[in-house]
Symmetry: none
Amino acid sequence: MSPVSNESMSNHNSSSELNGMKSGRKRKYACVECRQQKSKCNYDETNPDPCSRCAKKGIHCVIKKDFRRLSKRARAEAIERQVSHLTSHLFHERGGVNLNELYDTYRNPANNSMSPTHLNLLNNLPISKFDHPLFSREQLDILKLEASNPNSTSTTPITPQFNEIQSPRTSRLPSEKLECTPKTLGDVHMTSAEISD
Amino acid sequence: MSPVSNESMSNHNSSSELNGMKSGRKRKYACVECRQQKSKCNYDETNPDPCSRCAKKGIHCVIKKDFRRLSKRARAEAIERQVSHLTSHLFHERGGVNLNELYDTYRNPANNSMSPTHLNLLNNLPISKFDHPLFSREQLDILKLEASNPNSTSTTPITPQFNEIQSPRTSRLPSEKLECTPKTLGDVHMTSAEISD
DNA sequence: ACCGGATCCGGG
DNA sequence: CCCGGATCCGGT
Ligand SMILES: [Zn+2]
Ligand SMILES: [Zn+2]
Ligand SMILES: [Zn+2]
Ligand SMILES: [Zn+2]
């Protein structure tokens, strides 16, 4: 028989036998992995075996009735913007020190006019601008100090922090889960009228 | 056998035999009626013949690859708002006569201080505020005249008009089709950041 | 692996 | 009949 397997039919409806809920069941929830991958799940709640995909990947086939898939693409873009805004705001109110420029400048190994502290700091920074870290107030002060006095050396180690922001909780997201920071507005519909004139 | 029928399995995936596109087909498009009703369509199994549902309803089973279902509820709400706004605008620029109040006042049969013209007019109006009609410039003038001179009687009959508004065409709607007046904004996402401070 | 977007379950 | 929202196809 076919090489793929024999778990023929099942679908979210089916109709013949393996239908599942012939008359009584509630629905046919897909497992977490299949929801994330938006792929077909053949997990059968009357059977403890993992679904085909999970089995194939050797992972824990778990059903979470309220799991929402996490959109990788959207999340990446959101975080990128988030960080870019936060950093620019931060350095604005801290006296106009632009970390992005500072970063790009010092990241260049050809630039040897920087302090050892900065060197150590910047070399441990991730390269992608996706991951621009944030710094504490003290770290920033040190940065600025060093910037105006390139041969001084700080004793306190400067390590970037990848902080997590949390907010109260707002509206309901369309379906996917963008995660990161739930600050949304919940789709402004304005179906018609509203605009009229 | 089961009373429902014998059109077992099909689903938008299936897997075994009638899978359809074993290796070549493209997709399994649902017919217009089934899309509108969000119900399962088995047209691909009945192919030249209409799908089961259309057959049962005795209607023309037609496939329109780009048909979008029309949300009745949303459309009703949109129109309601649309009309409400348009009327208020109209009566604003026509001298501050508020039709809604006028309507509610005169609609009350206990109110006998109105002119026969108004009586006739308002009694022929639909009751639901969903259907607040619009009036022509002449009709409005008559209304205002009568309002200041309650015992005068107009000779021209006043009948409400349910006018249709049309607009250019804009962005893409999420999926459903609200129709009515395509003035939309296409979902303002603002995933995160944008708000930051 | 991801995901746009189409299909269609289950419930009002 | 309607439709919220879950499943999952087919394409990249
Ligand atoms: Zn699964
Ligand atoms: Zn699984
Ligand atoms: Zn159909
Ligand atoms: Zn049909």
